[in-house]
Protein backbone atom coordinates (compact mmCIF):
# COMPACT_ATOMS: atom_id res chain seq x y z
CA UNK A 1 0.00 0.00 0.00
CA UNK A 2 1.45 3.34 -1.05
CA UNK A 3 -1.14 5.87 0.14
CA UNK A 4 -3.78 5.81 2.82
CA UNK A 5 -6.16 8.66 3.63
CA UNK A 6 -7.71 8.78 7.09
CA UNK A 7 -10.69 10.94 7.98
CA UNK A 8 -9.69 13.81 5.73
CA UNK A 9 -11.93 16.81 6.31
CA UNK A 10 -11.66 20.29 4.83
CA UNK A 11 -13.94 23.24 5.47
CA UNK A 12 -14.35 26.30 3.28
CA UNK A 13 -16.02 29.05 5.23
CA UNK A 14 -17.91 26.65 7.48
CA UNK A 15 -19.02 24.36 4.65
CA UNK A 16 -17.36 20.97 4.43
CA UNK A 17 -15.89 20.56 0.97
CA UNK A 18 -14.46 17.21 1.94
CA UNK A 19 -15.62 15.25 4.95
CA UNK A 20 -14.20 12.12 6.57
CA UNK A 21 -12.77 10.79 3.38
CA UNK A 22 -10.93 7.51 3.71
CA UNK A 23 -9.48 5.28 1.05
CA UNK A 24 -6.21 3.69 0.08
CA UNK A 25 -4.11 3.16 -3.01
CA UNK A 26 -2.18 -0.04 -3.53
CA UNK A 27 1.17 -0.06 -5.25
CA UNK A 28 0.81 -0.18 -9.05
CA UNK A 29 -2.91 0.38 -8.89
CA UNK A 30 -5.11 2.95 -10.57
CA UNK A 31 -7.76 4.31 -8.25
CA UNK A 32 -10.48 6.34 -9.96
CA UNK A 33 -12.16 9.16 -8.13
CA UNK A 34 -15.59 9.96 -9.52
CA UNK A 35 -18.57 12.00 -8.51
CA UNK A 36 -20.70 14.96 -9.57
CA UNK A 37 -19.14 18.35 -10.20
CA UNK A 38 -18.48 20.09 -6.94
CA UNK A 39 -18.27 16.83 -5.01
CA UNK A 40 -14.81 17.74 -3.72
CA UNK A 41 -12.60 15.67 -5.99
CA UNK A 42 -10.23 18.44 -6.98
CA UNK A 43 -10.13 19.72 -3.40
CA UNK A 44 -9.04 16.25 -2.34
CA UNK A 45 -6.26 16.36 -4.95
CA UNK A 46 -5.14 19.68 -3.60
CA UNK A 47 -5.00 18.18 -0.13
CA UNK A 48 -3.04 15.12 -1.20
CA UNK A 49 -0.48 17.22 -3.07
CA UNK A 50 -0.11 19.63 -0.17
CA UNK A 51 -1.59 22.69 -1.84
CA UNK A 52 -4.30 22.77 0.83
CA UNK A 53 -3.99 21.53 4.35
CA UNK A 54 -6.98 19.64 5.72
CA UNK A 55 -8.74 20.65 8.93
CA UNK A 56 -8.35 17.12 10.16
CA UNK A 57 -7.18 13.69 9.09
CA UNK A 58 -3.94 12.14 8.02
CA UNK A 59 -2.26 11.26 4.74
CA UNK A 60 -0.10 8.20 5.17
CA UNK A 61 2.29 7.89 2.27
CA UNK A 62 4.81 5.05 2.33
CA UNK A 63 4.12 4.71 6.02
CA UNK A 64 4.71 8.37 6.90
CA UNK A 65 2.16 11.07 7.71
CA UNK A 66 2.57 13.79 5.15
CA UNK A 67 0.27 16.45 6.62
CA UNK A 68 1.82 19.91 6.52
CA UNK A 69 4.10 19.27 3.60
CA UNK A 70 4.11 21.75 0.75
CA UNK A 71 3.57 20.64 -2.86
CA UNK A 72 7.29 20.69 -3.66
CA UNK A 73 7.98 18.52 -0.62
CA UNK A 74 5.26 16.12 -1.69
CA UNK A 75 6.83 16.05 -5.13
CA UNK A 76 10.25 15.25 -3.76
CA UNK A 77 8.66 12.48 -1.72
CA UNK A 78 7.28 11.14 -5.01
CA UNK A 79 3.75 12.48 -5.36
CA UNK A 80 3.02 14.61 -8.40
CA UNK A 81 -0.02 15.54 -10.45
CA UNK A 82 -1.54 16.92 -13.64
CA UNK A 83 -4.13 19.64 -13.85
CA UNK A 84 -7.69 19.85 -15.07
CA UNK A 85 -6.90 23.18 -16.73
CA UNK A 86 -3.55 22.48 -18.25
CA UNK A 87 -0.63 24.07 -16.45
CA UNK A 88 2.08 23.64 -19.03
CA UNK A 89 5.08 25.92 -19.12
CA UNK A 90 3.70 27.36 -22.31
CA UNK A 91 6.59 29.62 -23.26
CA UNK A 92 9.16 26.87 -22.85
CA UNK A 93 9.83 24.19 -25.45
CA UNK A 94 8.41 20.73 -25.16
CA UNK A 95 11.85 19.41 -24.23
CA UNK A 96 12.36 22.09 -21.61
CA UNK A 97 9.01 21.22 -20.11
CA UNK A 98 10.16 17.69 -19.56
CA UNK A 99 13.57 18.80 -18.32
CA UNK A 100 11.90 21.15 -15.85
CA UNK A 101 9.71 18.26 -14.82
CA UNK A 102 12.90 16.31 -14.11
CA UNK A 103 14.05 19.05 -11.73
CA UNK A 104 14.31 16.61 -8.85
CA UNK A 105 16.67 14.42 -10.85
CA UNK A 106 19.34 17.11 -10.91
CA UNK A 107 21.41 18.72 -8.20
CA UNK A 108 22.93 21.90 -9.55
CA UNK A 109 21.99 25.00 -7.52
CA UNK A 110 21.71 28.69 -8.27
CA UNK A 111 25.35 29.71 -8.05
CA UNK A 112 26.69 26.45 -9.40
CA UNK A 113 24.71 27.07 -12.54
CA UNK A 114 26.57 30.29 -13.04
CA UNK A 115 29.97 29.06 -14.15
CA UNK A 116 29.80 25.54 -15.37
CA UNK A 117 32.30 22.89 -14.45
CA UNK A 118 32.65 19.94 -16.80
CA UNK A 119 31.28 17.55 -14.20
CA UNK A 120 28.08 19.55 -14.05
CA UNK A 121 27.75 19.53 -17.81
CA UNK A 122 27.33 15.80 -17.68
CA UNK A 123 24.30 16.18 -15.42
CA UNK A 124 22.72 18.45 -17.98
CA UNK A 125 23.45 15.93 -20.71
CA UNK A 126 21.98 13.07 -18.73
CA UNK A 127 18.73 14.95 -18.03
CA UNK A 128 18.43 15.93 -21.65
CA UNK A 129 18.92 12.37 -22.85
CA UNK A 130 16.37 11.03 -20.41
CA UNK A 131 13.87 13.71 -21.40
CA UNK A 132 14.31 12.92 -25.08
CA UNK A 133 13.80 9.27 -24.33
CA UNK A 134 10.49 9.99 -22.59
CA UNK A 135 9.34 12.12 -25.54
CA UNK A 136 10.38 9.38 -27.95
CA UNK A 137 8.30 6.89 -26.04
CA UNK A 138 5.10 8.92 -26.40
CA UNK A 139 5.81 10.15 -29.91
CA UNK A 140 6.48 13.78 -29.19
CA UNK A 141 10.18 13.69 -30.02
CA UNK A 142 9.93 15.57 -33.30
CA UNK A 143 8.12 18.38 -31.52
CA UNK A 144 10.82 18.70 -28.86
CA UNK A 145 11.92 22.18 -29.93
CA UNK A 146 8.43 23.68 -30.33
CA UNK A 147 7.03 25.88 -27.60
CA UNK A 148 4.60 23.83 -25.55
CA UNK A 149 1.80 26.31 -26.18
CA UNK A 150 2.01 25.60 -29.90
CA UNK A 151 1.04 21.95 -29.57
CA UNK A 152 -2.49 20.84 -30.31
CA UNK A 153 -4.59 20.33 -27.22
CA UNK A 154 -4.43 16.55 -27.20
CA UNK A 155 -0.64 16.59 -27.36
CA UNK A 156 -0.53 19.16 -24.56
CA UNK A 157 -2.43 16.72 -22.33
CA UNK A 158 0.07 14.03 -23.15
CA UNK A 159 2.96 16.38 -22.55
CA UNK A 160 1.66 17.23 -19.12
CA UNK A 161 1.47 13.57 -18.28
CA UNK A 162 5.02 12.94 -19.48
CA UNK A 163 6.23 15.96 -17.53
CA UNK A 164 4.72 14.48 -14.39
CA UNK A 165 6.50 11.21 -15.17
CA UNK A 166 9.86 12.89 -15.65
CA UNK A 167 10.53 13.16 -11.94
CA UNK A 168 10.01 9.37 -11.63
CA UNK A 169 7.25 9.67 -9.04
CA UNK A 170 5.70 6.73 -7.28
CA UNK A 171 2.22 8.25 -7.28
CA UNK A 172 0.65 10.47 -9.94
CA UNK A 173 -2.67 12.23 -9.56
CA UNK A 174 -4.45 12.82 -12.87
CA UNK A 175 -7.19 15.45 -12.91
CA UNK A 176 -9.50 14.70 -15.85
CA UNK A 177 -6.80 13.71 -18.29
CA UNK A 178 -9.36 12.82 -20.94
CA UNK A 179 -11.36 16.05 -20.79
CA UNK A 180 -11.46 17.59 -24.21
CA UNK A 181 -9.99 14.57 -25.91
CA UNK A 182 -11.92 12.76 -28.60
CA UNK A 183 -12.67 9.10 -28.37
CA UNK A 184 -9.64 7.93 -30.27
CA UNK A 185 -7.31 10.09 -28.22
CA UNK A 186 -9.04 8.90 -25.08
CA UNK A 187 -8.41 5.32 -26.07
CA UNK A 188 -4.72 5.98 -26.63
CA UNK A 189 -4.58 7.66 -23.25
CA UNK A 190 -6.31 4.77 -21.51
CA UNK A 191 -3.83 2.34 -22.93
CA UNK A 192 -0.95 4.54 -21.93
CA UNK A 193 -2.22 4.81 -18.36
CA UNK A 194 -2.51 1.04 -18.13
CA UNK A 195 1.00 0.78 -19.46
CA UNK A 196 2.22 3.16 -16.76
CA UNK A 197 1.06 0.88 -13.97
CA UNK A 198 4.42 -0.81 -14.14
CA UNK A 199 6.16 2.40 -13.14
CA UNK A 200 3.85 4.17 -10.76
CA UNK A 201 0.60 4.15 -8.85
CA UNK A 202 -2.13 6.53 -9.94
CA UNK A 203 -5.24 8.31 -8.78
CA UNK A 204 -7.53 9.44 -11.55
CA UNK A 205 -10.36 11.95 -11.62
CA UNK A 206 -12.36 11.34 -14.75
CA UNK A 207 -15.85 11.68 -16.10
CA UNK A 208 -15.37 9.39 -19.03
CA UNK A 209 -16.81 6.19 -17.64
CA UNK A 210 -15.40 3.98 -20.34
CA UNK A 211 -11.87 5.04 -19.51
CA UNK A 212 -12.55 4.38 -15.88
CA UNK A 213 -14.14 1.02 -16.36
CA UNK A 214 -11.25 -0.05 -18.49
CA UNK A 215 -8.34 1.35 -16.54
CA UNK A 216 -9.28 1.58 -12.90
CA UNK A 217 -8.56 -1.12 -10.36
CA UNK A 218 -10.78 0.48 -7.80
CA UNK A 219 -13.30 3.31 -7.88
CA UNK A 220 -14.07 5.75 -5.08
CA UNK A 221 -17.28 7.77 -5.47
CA UNK A 222 -17.59 11.14 -3.82
CA UNK A 223 -20.79 13.13 -3.37
CA UNK A 224 -21.07 16.31 -1.32
CA UNK A 225 -17.57 15.74 -0.01
CA UNK A 226 -18.28 12.27 1.33
CA UNK A 227 -17.37 8.85 0.05
CA UNK A 228 -20.69 7.28 -0.92
CA UNK A 229 -19.25 4.11 -2.36
CA UNK A 230 -16.02 2.40 -3.20
CA UNK A 231 -15.19 -0.86 -4.86
CA UNK A 232 -14.25 -2.49 -8.13
CA UNK A 233 -15.60 -1.02 -11.36
CA UNK A 234 -18.08 -3.83 -11.67
CA UNK A 235 -19.47 -3.18 -8.18
CA UNK A 236 -19.72 0.56 -8.66
CA UNK A 237 -21.44 0.30 -12.01
CA UNK A 238 -24.43 -1.36 -10.47
CA UNK A 239 -24.48 0.53 -7.19
CA UNK A 240 -27.93 2.18 -7.10
CA UNK A 241 -26.73 5.12 -5.06
CA UNK A 242 -24.00 5.89 -7.58
CA UNK A 243 -26.43 5.62 -10.44
CA UNK A 244 -28.76 8.04 -8.74
CA UNK A 245 -26.15 10.60 -7.79
CA UNK A 246 -23.82 10.40 -10.70
CA UNK A 247 -24.14 7.98 -13.55
CA UNK A 248 -27.75 8.33 -14.55
CA UNK A 249 -29.72 5.52 -16.13
CA UNK A 250 -28.01 5.98 -19.43
CA UNK A 251 -24.50 5.13 -18.43
CA UNK A 252 -25.50 2.08 -16.51
CA UNK A 253 -25.91 0.10 -19.66
CA UNK A 254 -22.56 1.13 -21.06
Amino acid sequence: MILKLNEITKYFGGIAAVEDVEFEVKEGNIVALIGPNGAGKTTLFNIITGALSPNQGSIIYKGKDMIGNKPFQMASAGITRTFQNLQLFGGMTVLENIMAGAYLRGKKGFLQSFYTLPRKCSEEKRIRTEALFLLEEIGLAEMAELPAAALPFGKQRLLEIVRALASEPSLILFDEPAAGLNIVETETLTNYLKHLKKRTSMILIEHDMETIMEAADRIVVLDFGRVIAQGTPAEIQVNPEVIKAYLGEDEQIA
Partner: protein
Protein backbone atom coordinates in the same frame (compact mmCIF):
# COMPACT_ATOMS: atom_id res chain seq x y z
CA UNK B 1 29.40 26.10 -24.66
CA UNK B 2 30.54 27.30 -28.06
CA UNK B 3 27.99 30.08 -28.16
CA UNK B 4 28.98 31.37 -24.75
CA UNK B 5 32.55 31.57 -25.88
CA UNK B 6 31.60 33.54 -28.95
CA UNK B 7 29.54 35.96 -26.93
CA UNK B 8 32.46 36.35 -24.60
CA UNK B 9 34.86 37.10 -27.43
CA UNK B 10 32.50 39.65 -28.93
CA UNK B 11 32.17 41.53 -25.69
CA UNK B 12 35.89 41.39 -24.98
CA UNK B 13 36.61 42.69 -28.47
CA UNK B 14 34.10 45.45 -27.92
CA UNK B 15 35.76 46.47 -24.66
CA UNK B 16 39.20 46.32 -26.22
CA UNK B 17 38.31 48.35 -29.28
CA UNK B 18 36.34 50.96 -27.40
CA UNK B 19 38.99 51.41 -24.76
CA UNK B 20 41.68 51.86 -27.40
CA UNK B 21 39.79 53.98 -29.91
CA UNK B 22 37.61 56.24 -27.81
CA UNK B 23 39.17 59.38 -26.40
CA UNK B 24 36.13 61.14 -25.09
CA UNK B 25 35.58 60.94 -21.36
CA UNK B 26 31.99 61.89 -22.00
CA UNK B 27 31.45 58.78 -24.07
CA UNK B 28 33.24 56.68 -21.48
CA UNK B 29 31.07 58.05 -18.74
CA UNK B 30 27.94 57.23 -20.73
CA UNK B 31 29.20 53.71 -21.36
CA UNK B 32 30.07 53.33 -17.68
CA UNK B 33 26.60 54.42 -16.64
CA UNK B 34 25.09 52.05 -19.21
CA UNK B 35 27.29 49.28 -17.84
CA UNK B 36 26.29 49.96 -14.24
CA UNK B 37 22.61 50.05 -15.08
CA UNK B 38 22.97 46.95 -17.20
CA UNK B 39 24.40 45.14 -14.17
CA UNK B 40 21.36 46.08 -12.10
CA UNK B 41 18.97 45.28 -14.90
CA UNK B 42 20.64 41.88 -15.40
CA UNK B 43 19.64 40.97 -11.89
CA UNK B 44 16.24 42.54 -12.22
CA UNK B 45 15.83 40.67 -15.48
CA UNK B 46 16.40 37.37 -13.71
CA UNK B 47 13.86 38.37 -11.09
CA UNK B 48 11.25 39.69 -13.50
CA UNK B 49 11.85 37.81 -16.70
CA UNK B 50 12.61 34.40 -15.22
CA UNK B 51 11.16 34.24 -11.72
CA UNK B 52 8.25 36.45 -12.81
CA UNK B 53 8.48 38.72 -9.76
CA UNK B 54 8.41 42.47 -10.17
CA UNK B 55 10.36 44.85 -7.95
CA UNK B 56 9.89 48.59 -7.77
CA UNK B 57 12.44 48.89 -5.01
CA UNK B 58 15.78 48.03 -6.53
CA UNK B 59 17.11 51.56 -6.24
CA UNK B 60 17.19 50.79 -2.53
CA UNK B 61 19.68 47.96 -3.02
CA UNK B 62 21.61 50.10 -5.46
CA UNK B 63 21.71 52.85 -2.83
CA UNK B 64 22.59 50.46 -0.03
CA UNK B 65 25.55 49.29 -2.07
CA UNK B 66 26.66 52.83 -2.78
CA UNK B 67 26.29 53.95 0.84
CA UNK B 68 28.04 50.88 2.18
CA UNK B 69 31.01 51.53 -0.06
CA UNK B 70 31.01 55.25 0.72
CA UNK B 71 30.65 54.95 4.49
CA UNK B 72 33.19 52.16 4.90
CA UNK B 73 35.85 54.00 2.92
CA UNK B 74 35.30 57.59 4.07
CA UNK B 75 34.45 56.94 7.69
CA UNK B 76 36.15 53.69 8.58
CA UNK B 77 38.91 53.86 5.97
CA UNK B 78 38.43 50.34 4.75
CA UNK B 79 40.40 49.32 1.68
CA UNK B 80 38.20 50.08 -1.31
CA UNK B 81 38.07 46.52 -2.55
CA UNK B 82 36.86 45.24 0.82
CA UNK B 83 34.25 47.98 0.91
CA UNK B 84 33.08 46.94 -2.54
CA UNK B 85 32.71 43.38 -1.31
CA UNK B 86 30.65 44.62 1.63
CA UNK B 87 28.59 46.71 -0.80
CA UNK B 88 27.61 43.49 -2.51
CA UNK B 89 26.98 41.45 0.59
CA UNK B 90 24.94 43.91 2.64
CA UNK B 91 22.12 44.44 0.11
CA UNK B 92 22.05 40.68 -0.43
CA UNK B 93 21.66 40.11 3.28
CA UNK B 94 18.86 42.63 3.53
CA UNK B 95 17.14 41.04 0.55
CA UNK B 96 17.40 37.68 2.30
CA UNK B 97 15.82 39.14 5.42
CA UNK B 98 12.87 40.83 3.76
CA UNK B 99 12.47 38.54 0.77
CA UNK B 100 10.64 35.55 2.15
CA UNK B 101 7.68 37.50 3.49
CA UNK B 102 7.58 39.99 0.64
CA UNK B 103 7.71 37.45 -2.15
CA UNK B 104 4.55 35.81 -0.93
CA UNK B 105 2.73 38.77 -2.42
CA UNK B 106 1.57 38.71 -6.00
CA UNK B 107 1.87 41.14 -8.88
CA UNK B 108 0.60 44.58 -7.95
CA UNK B 109 0.82 43.88 -4.24
CA UNK B 110 4.44 42.89 -4.65
CA UNK B 111 5.02 45.99 -6.75
CA UNK B 112 3.57 48.19 -4.02
CA UNK B 113 5.43 46.44 -1.22
CA UNK B 114 8.78 46.74 -2.97
CA UNK B 115 8.00 50.36 -3.81
CA UNK B 116 7.31 50.90 -0.11
CA UNK B 117 10.58 49.22 0.84
CA UNK B 118 12.41 51.50 -1.57
CA UNK B 119 10.83 54.58 -0.02
CA UNK B 120 11.70 53.38 3.48
CA UNK B 121 15.34 52.94 2.59
CA UNK B 122 15.31 56.32 0.89
CA UNK B 123 13.95 57.87 4.09
CA UNK B 124 16.69 56.10 6.03
CA UNK B 125 19.35 57.64 3.76
CA UNK B 126 17.86 61.06 4.44
CA UNK B 127 17.40 60.64 8.15
CA UNK B 128 20.46 58.68 9.14
CA UNK B 129 22.54 61.84 9.23
CA UNK B 130 25.33 60.52 11.41
CA UNK B 131 26.06 57.80 8.88
CA UNK B 132 24.76 59.00 5.57
CA UNK B 133 25.26 62.71 5.81
CA UNK B 134 21.53 63.18 5.30
CA UNK B 135 20.30 64.97 2.21
CA UNK B 136 23.72 66.58 1.70
CA UNK B 137 25.26 63.21 1.01
CA UNK B 138 28.83 61.96 1.28
CA UNK B 139 31.70 63.44 -0.69
CA UNK B 140 35.38 62.65 -1.13
CA UNK B 141 34.88 58.96 -1.70
CA UNK B 142 38.22 57.54 -2.91
CA UNK B 143 38.72 55.86 -6.27
CA UNK B 144 38.61 52.10 -6.34
CA UNK B 145 42.06 50.62 -6.12
CA UNK B 146 43.62 47.20 -6.04
CA UNK B 147 46.95 47.50 -4.31
CA UNK B 148 48.67 50.43 -5.93
CA UNK B 149 46.56 50.30 -9.06
CA UNK B 150 43.71 52.83 -8.93
CA UNK B 151 40.75 53.05 -11.26
CA UNK B 152 41.09 56.80 -11.45
CA UNK B 153 40.30 57.49 -15.08
CA UNK B 154 37.16 56.99 -17.10
CA UNK B 155 38.98 54.63 -19.41
CA UNK B 156 40.12 52.32 -16.64
CA UNK B 157 36.73 52.40 -15.00
CA UNK B 158 35.05 51.61 -18.28
CA UNK B 159 37.18 48.50 -18.72
CA UNK B 160 36.43 47.43 -15.16
CA UNK B 161 32.67 47.91 -15.37
CA UNK B 162 32.33 46.25 -18.73
CA UNK B 163 34.55 43.35 -17.78
CA UNK B 164 32.33 42.75 -14.75
CA UNK B 165 29.30 43.08 -16.98
CA UNK B 166 30.70 40.60 -19.48
CA UNK B 167 31.41 38.04 -16.77
CA UNK B 168 27.86 38.46 -15.53
CA UNK B 169 26.34 38.20 -18.98
CA UNK B 170 28.08 34.91 -19.55
CA UNK B 171 27.25 33.61 -16.11
CA UNK B 172 23.63 34.51 -16.51
CA UNK B 173 23.55 32.92 -19.93
CA UNK B 174 24.76 29.72 -18.27
CA UNK B 175 22.26 30.12 -15.49
CA UNK B 176 19.19 30.50 -17.66
CA UNK B 177 20.03 27.44 -19.67
CA UNK B 178 20.58 25.35 -16.60
CA UNK B 179 18.36 23.38 -14.27
CA UNK B 180 17.88 26.47 -12.11
CA UNK B 181 17.04 28.68 -15.09
CA UNK B 182 14.42 26.22 -16.27
CA UNK B 183 12.97 26.01 -12.79
CA UNK B 184 12.73 29.81 -12.59
CA UNK B 185 10.96 30.01 -15.91
CA UNK B 186 8.68 27.19 -14.84
CA UNK B 187 7.70 29.24 -11.80
CA UNK B 188 6.87 32.18 -14.01
CA UNK B 189 4.78 30.05 -16.36
CA UNK B 190 2.88 28.16 -13.69
CA UNK B 191 3.82 28.19 -10.09
CA UNK B 192 1.47 25.33 -9.20
CA UNK B 193 2.89 23.08 -11.83
CA UNK B 194 6.43 24.03 -10.85
CA UNK B 195 5.75 23.17 -7.22
CA UNK B 196 4.36 19.83 -8.27
CA UNK B 197 7.54 19.13 -10.16
CA UNK B 198 9.36 19.46 -6.86
CA UNK B 199 10.56 23.03 -7.36
CA UNK B 200 10.66 24.93 -4.10
CA UNK B 201 9.34 28.10 -5.65
CA UNK B 202 9.50 30.21 -2.50
CA UNK B 203 13.16 29.42 -1.98
CA UNK B 204 14.08 29.82 -5.63
CA UNK B 205 12.29 33.15 -5.91
CA UNK B 206 14.11 34.26 -2.81
CA UNK B 207 17.42 33.23 -4.33
CA UNK B 208 16.62 35.20 -7.46
CA UNK B 209 15.66 38.18 -5.32
CA UNK B 210 18.89 37.99 -3.33
CA UNK B 211 20.88 37.57 -6.49
CA UNK B 212 19.34 40.67 -8.02
CA UNK B 213 20.01 42.60 -4.82
CA UNK B 214 23.65 41.49 -4.89
CA UNK B 215 24.01 42.81 -8.41
CA UNK B 216 22.29 46.08 -7.57
CA UNK B 217 24.62 46.43 -4.60
CA UNK B 218 27.63 45.74 -6.80
CA UNK B 219 26.51 48.42 -9.25
CA UNK B 220 25.87 50.81 -6.34
CA UNK B 221 29.34 50.26 -4.92
CA UNK B 222 30.93 50.82 -8.31
CA UNK B 223 28.82 53.95 -8.78
CA UNK B 224 30.04 55.41 -5.49
CA UNK B 225 33.67 54.77 -6.47
CA UNK B 226 33.09 56.27 -9.87
CA UNK B 227 31.18 59.49 -9.10
CA UNK B 228 32.92 59.77 -5.67
CA UNK B 229 29.96 61.73 -4.32
CA UNK B 230 26.59 60.30 -3.38
CA UNK B 231 23.39 61.70 -1.98
CA UNK B 232 19.98 60.10 -1.49
CA UNK B 233 18.48 61.78 -4.56
CA UNK B 234 20.03 59.21 -6.90
CA UNK B 235 18.29 56.33 -5.12
CA UNK B 236 14.68 57.44 -4.98
CA UNK B 237 11.79 55.42 -6.34
CA UNK B 238 12.17 57.26 -9.62
CA UNK B 239 15.37 55.30 -10.12
CA UNK B 240 13.61 52.04 -9.23
CA UNK B 241 10.98 52.71 -11.84
CA UNK B 242 13.66 53.59 -14.35
CA UNK B 243 15.30 50.19 -13.78
CA UNK B 244 12.02 48.39 -14.38
CA UNK B 245 11.58 50.44 -17.54
CA UNK B 246 15.00 49.37 -18.74
CA UNK B 247 14.25 45.74 -18.07
CA UNK B 248 10.94 45.82 -19.90
CA UNK B 249 12.07 48.02 -22.78
CA UNK B 250 15.03 45.73 -23.41
CA UNK B 251 12.88 42.64 -23.28
CA UNK B 252 12.32 40.30 -20.37
CA UNK B 253 13.84 36.86 -20.38
CA UNK B 254 16.30 37.56 -23.17
CA UNK B 255 20.07 37.56 -23.31
CA UNK B 256 20.65 41.03 -24.74
CA UNK B 257 17.57 42.59 -23.20
CA UNK B 258 19.06 44.11 -20.02
CA UNK B 259 22.08 45.59 -21.78
CA UNK B 260 19.94 46.87 -24.59
CA UNK B 261 17.35 48.34 -22.23
CA UNK B 262 19.96 50.18 -20.19
CA UNK B 263 21.72 51.39 -23.34
CA UNK B 264 18.56 52.60 -25.00
CA UNK B 265 17.17 54.43 -22.00
CA UNK B 266 20.48 56.12 -21.17
CA UNK B 267 21.38 56.83 -24.78
CA UNK B 268 17.87 58.03 -25.53
CA UNK B 269 18.04 60.79 -22.98
CA UNK B 270 21.54 61.77 -24.11
CA UNK B 271 20.54 61.70 -27.75
CA UNK B 272 17.38 63.66 -27.11
CA UNK B 273 19.44 66.24 -25.26
CA UNK B 274 21.47 66.78 -28.42
CA UNK B 275 18.91 66.15 -31.13
CA UNK B 276 15.81 67.92 -29.86
CA UNK B 277 17.35 71.41 -29.98
CA UNK B 278 18.34 70.70 -33.60
CA UNK B 279 14.79 69.71 -34.53
CA UNK B 280 12.97 72.33 -32.51
CA UNK B 281 15.21 75.36 -32.16
CA UNK B 282 15.10 76.94 -28.76
CA UNK B 283 13.45 73.91 -27.20
CA UNK B 284 14.27 73.27 -23.58
CA UNK B 285 14.11 70.11 -21.53
CA UNK B 286 10.32 70.06 -21.87
CA UNK B 287 10.32 68.54 -25.34
CA UNK B 288 12.85 65.93 -24.32
CA UNK B 289 10.56 64.78 -21.55
CA UNK B 290 7.52 64.63 -23.79
CA UNK B 291 9.34 62.80 -26.55
CA UNK B 292 10.88 60.38 -24.07
CA UNK B 293 7.43 59.58 -22.70
CA UNK B 294 5.96 59.13 -26.14
CA UNK B 295 8.75 56.83 -27.27
CA UNK B 296 8.16 54.75 -24.16
CA UNK B 297 4.45 54.47 -24.90
CA UNK B 298 5.04 53.61 -28.55
CA UNK B 299 7.51 50.91 -27.56
CA UNK B 300 5.08 49.31 -25.16
CA UNK B 301 2.16 49.54 -27.56
CA UNK B 302 3.94 48.21 -30.61
CA UNK B 303 6.77 46.17 -29.09
CA UNK B 304 5.39 44.93 -25.79
CA UNK B 305 7.94 42.11 -25.66
CA UNK B 306 10.74 44.62 -25.64
CA UNK B 307 13.38 45.60 -28.12
CA UNK B 308 15.25 42.31 -28.22
CA UNK B 309 12.20 40.80 -29.86
CA UNK B 310 13.01 42.77 -32.99
CA UNK B 311 15.34 39.95 -33.91
CA UNK B 312 12.47 37.50 -33.72
CA UNK B 313 10.52 39.18 -36.48
CA UNK B 314 11.84 36.71 -39.00
CA UNK B 315 11.16 33.77 -36.82
CA UNK B 316 7.78 32.39 -37.78
CA UNK B 317 6.95 31.12 -34.39
CA UNK B 318 3.53 29.54 -34.08
CA UNK B 319 3.48 30.64 -30.47
CA UNK B 320 1.45 33.70 -31.38
CA UNK B 321 -1.49 31.53 -32.27
CA UNK B 322 -2.50 31.13 -28.68
CA UNK B 323 -2.65 34.82 -28.05
CA UNK B 324 -5.97 35.49 -29.66
CA UNK B 325 -7.74 33.08 -27.41
CA UNK B 326 -9.26 34.65 -24.43
CA UNK B 327 -7.34 35.84 -21.49
CA UNK B 328 -9.31 35.80 -18.35
Amino acid sequence: MKKTTIFGIIILLFILIVSLVVKSNYLFSILIIIGLYAIIVQGLGILMGYAGQVSFGHAAFYGLGAYTAAILTTRYHWPTIAALLAAIILPGTIAALIGRQTLKLRELYLALATLGFGILVFIAFNEGREFTGGPSGISSIPFLNIGSFAFDSDRKFFVLVWAVLALLLLGINNLVHSRTGRALRAIRESEYAAENAGIDSASLKLQAFIFSALLAGLAGGLYAFYITFISPAAFSYHASIEFVLMAVVGGLGTFWGPLLGAAVIVALSEILREVVPLLIPGAGGEYQIIIYGIILILLMVYKPEGLSSLGAVFDRSPKRAEQNTNKQ
